[in-house]
Amino acid sequence: MSKEEKKEQIMKTALSLFAKQGFYSTTIADIAREMGMSVGNMYNYFPSKESLAKELLIYTSKKFGDEIRKINEMDISSKEKIKKIVELYFKKAVEEPELVDYFMRVYLSNKEIFNNGCEGMLCVSAFVTEIMIFFEEGVRKKELKNQDFFAAFGLFMGYIGGLAFLNRENILGKPLEEYIEPVSENIYNALKA
């Protein structure tokens, strides 16, 4: 196993532990134990829990970004792209709920951890850039309304993030997949030109 692959595995393990027992109560030793590694060896991969948290963010942002980039490069309408993005997000939320958890519970609510090196959009840039490109091209093709970026970004991400959160809390009446259609429709209606 290459060092990169090992790192990825550590991150996945950390992710599930963070989701299970919270970011603060999870220690490097917990992660090492789960991985069957020595704590000393762990430090060869990540010098601190903070650096692991940061790389985890970059890693997930890039993974998400890569997926959205594929959608961006498809020769389909903005309306169809919205649906594909919602689909992608909800699928992830169901298959890897700890990922969404991590983003909502750790990143967004513990910003102080990320102040050193993850300011602003630094660690989520891969993902945000793809959303920017999606919006920009939609407006350029006159399919989406020209408006403030964050007004649109907040509407899109806040909405689907919120639903993923409700799903995790077992509040939704139906399976998350069943919301793909109406949610995409609502987003499109709010953003269309």
């Binding site: 300011e119 959009m121 630094l122 840039s125 920017m132 919006f135 403030d148």
Partner: protein, 288 residues
Amino acid sequence: MRLKPKIIWIDGVGCNGCSHSFFNYPEISSFFENFELLYHPLLDSDEFNVQNCDILIIEGALKSNFSRLGKDLNSLISELFLKAKKIIALGTCAVYGGIFGKGLVFDKNEKGKFYKCRDRVINIPGCPSHPEWIMYVLNMIKNDKKIALDEFNRPVEIFSYTSHMGCTRNEYFEWKIDAQDFGSKEGCLFYYQGCQGPFTHSSCNKILWNEVNSKPRAGTPCFGCTEVSFPKKDLFKTETFMGIPANIPLGVSKRAYLTISGIAKSLTNERLTKKLIECENEDKQKDN
């Protein structure tokens, strides 16, 4: 070329601004020493005659039913084209049409009336064109040097630069610190004020205007006056799609530009977020 190339300088539909800009060339006496001016629209010369010349300079656009020197402008230019070895289309009007009409080789993005003769034409756009650009081209012709041209027949030595290169606001561009309004030496004019510097071909900020300044240095956005789109609509506004500039710096992909901009915006250059010079009013100084 001959010892003293003969020049005929004609004005089409324009404002004579390229002539007046040329008059600012600091070493202008060398122009009179090295070239023979058969006709010029402003400077004293012999009576106008359609005659052979080495270099025909046309400033201003073409337009139908426009009279010049007692002839129809378009046919006058056609006659002169036959008599000239080289033709310089001077200024954005002559190059693309600009505000007033049609260009010689190009009519905006279409082929112009003299497209077929483009091998003999050198385009020097700009509203106005810079005096040093004109002298550069004239000297190259006189010295039989080959002028490399880009796809718009513009000399590469001038138009491979962007007007962004050398701008005093470049640090603000790097760190994505935008001028919020007019009238400050701080901030980049690219995001709100409509500056077209990063995607406009010209050497304005390299050689400067009148040897001392440039529009962006003086707080005015670059209006892209060397490009075919000049003058675009909403010249003091940056066109954005969902907050993202519709035109991005030349040579970079949108993805790469957005990535680097996002990163720059996320970081802070403390020094550049403040006024460069804190000003104290004179009254206040007296009170102290």
